[in-house]
Amino acid sequence: MLSIFFKRLLLAIPVLLAVASLTFFLIKLAPGGPFDADKAVSPQVLKNLNEAYNLDASEWEQYVDYMSGVLQGDFGPSFRFPGRSVSEMIATGLPVTFELAFYAILIALLIGISSGVLAALKRNTFLDFIPMAIAMIGICVPTFLMGPLLVLIFGINLEILPVSGWGQLPGDKILPSITLGFAYAAYIARLSRGGMLEVLNQDFIRTARAKGLKERNVVIKHAMQGGLIPVVSFLGPAVAGLLAGSFVVETIFQIPGLGRFYVEAAFNRDYTMILGTTIFFSAMIVFFNLLSDLASMWLNPRSRDV
């Protein structure tokens, strides 16, 4: 296990290096410099600025300089917010985004697994049809529609929950977390239903039942370990989706997280911020994929030798 982990980790390094380099040179392709502001700056000021941000060096020197900074956790200064570094902005936004993603995934796992397992056990009854119909809605209603609709219903019409912010008013974390978590609850419900149905038909479950085990033990101890593998393997790629979801949710609810910073940076053409966050997001996603692969390997002994 451990050796696989390190092997995969080693493989991730060249991948991340390639991503970082590609992003760096892509950004250099972008038309216009970072200081092409609305107001024209005098050539002397521009020269000083370029010097201060090391933009007068050759691209290769800038690249080497930037990369060695990244390795030390320094993503350079933000071009739009003078005096703030990209690392600082990541450090401010990340905890917020993590908290949001954590609540969302918690909601998704609780609702998704319980309704999926229940649907599989009570197959072809109302307890199967209704959650699966709701899951279909969760998959078909995009986050950027679900969020505003929830705001419209609970925030504006019923006036029971705050419509924006994060941690300022009581209950203002509820709507964003549900918005982000709902689609995942739907996917997880479908995956766990499918996984459970497959496992429940297998011989070892019949054996466990024949031994006279309580149904609850059969389900929790025997069926769920195998039946939930699809859910675990889904969680890694889901992190990438959660990230994209956080762009939308943080924009809708005006949450000062990394997702909103990224979207703002994209609008403002804050190239260093885009570059830094892209590298950071990629590293995070590669890492979470690795974790989820390892977790499914651990749960499924058959795939361990591969």
Binding site: L29, L145, P148, A266, S282, I285
Partner: protein, 284 residues
């Protein structure tokens, strides 16, 4: 000569008996028709403004109401359908071409070539592509064709995996070996012998890719990084609707309903197609 029952005639029979799938197909048909005929059936032009009227709730003159600039919402939804469906189909087409060629070559070549090609797919799978699309849109400007290409370039990975798996299954069958023994060139092997035999899974996956692509476009347009005004897709209509939903909720609700129904229809149809072409996966 009696009619033989082929894979496709069987599949069509099963598909026509699947009510949800047929309902999806019906909705899709209507939508495509509406999108194609938008200039003739839309009551107003999508950019016609009636500033005096401003935002008005649904009425006889404007069935779905008007937006803050007095533009007819029904007409804008009809024209938006053109863009949204176009993105869905074109980007899926791009994904299809890349994915199928990649998968066929990898699966048929086998050995080192295969492992290198699939390794590349594995690596690309693990990257945050949504961010790269945003990056491309920021760097090269928000261009419609770039959007098609970028989305298509992201969605081909799964297709390549599916096609490769299918081709490996076919490669060792007698008819392929016979064709090879007869000296059939690689290209006609792909086109005449392999491709027709994997059309089923390709059709299924393509149908299920379209809603994903449309979601992606909606997502980008919602953030303001996709389709730019005065053009509008359903994503931009939803974005506009959100901005004024407190007073004029219909501006959010009608585009939202249209978008959701379309996604439902595509998913139902895709699921039905999968069940029809591959009865094994049906869980009955």
């Amino acid at each position: 000569m009696s009619k033989s029952s082929t894979l496709w005639s069987d599949a069509i029979y099963r598909l026509t008996r699947n009510k949800a799938a047929m309902f999806g197909a019906f909705i899709l048909f209507i939508l495509i028709l509406c999108a194609a005929l938008a200039p003739w059936i839309a009551p107003y032009s999508y950019s016609f403004q009636n500033l005096e009227l401003g935002a008005s709730p649904p009425s006889a003159a404007h069935l779905l109401g008007t937006d803050v600039l007095g533009r007819d919402l029904l007409s804008r939804i009809l024209y938006g359908a053109r863009i949204s469906l176009l993105v869905g189909f074109v980007a899926t087409g791009v994904a299809l071409v890349i994915g199928v060629s990649w998968g066929i070559v990898a699966g048929y070549a086998g050995g080192k070539i295969d492992s290198v090609m699939m390794r590349i797919v594995d690596i690309l799978y693990g990257l945050p592509f949504i961010i790269f699309i945003i990056l491309l849109m920021v760097i090269f400007g928000r261009n419609l064709w770039l959007l098609f290409g970028a989305i298509g370039a992201v969605e081909w990975l799964t297709m390549a995996r599916i096609v490769r798996g299918q081709v490996i299954g076919l490669k060792n069958q007698e008819f392929v070996m016979a064709a090879k023994a007869m000296g059939v060139s690689n290209f006609s092997m792909f086109r005449k012998h392999l491709l027709p035999n994997i059309l089923g899974p390709i059709a299924v996956y393509a149908t299920l890719t379209i809603p994903q692509v449309m979601l992606l476009e909606g997502f980008l347009s919602f953030l303001g990084l996709g389709i730019q005004p005065p053009m509008s897709s359903w994503g931009t209509l939803i974005k506009d609707g959100v901005e004024s939903m407190e007073e004029y909720s219909w501006l959010l609700i009608y585009p939202g309903i249209t978008f959701t129904i379309t996604l439902f229809a595509l998913n139902f149809f895709g699921d039905g197609l999968r069940d029809a072409l591959d009865p094994k996966t049906t869980d009955n």
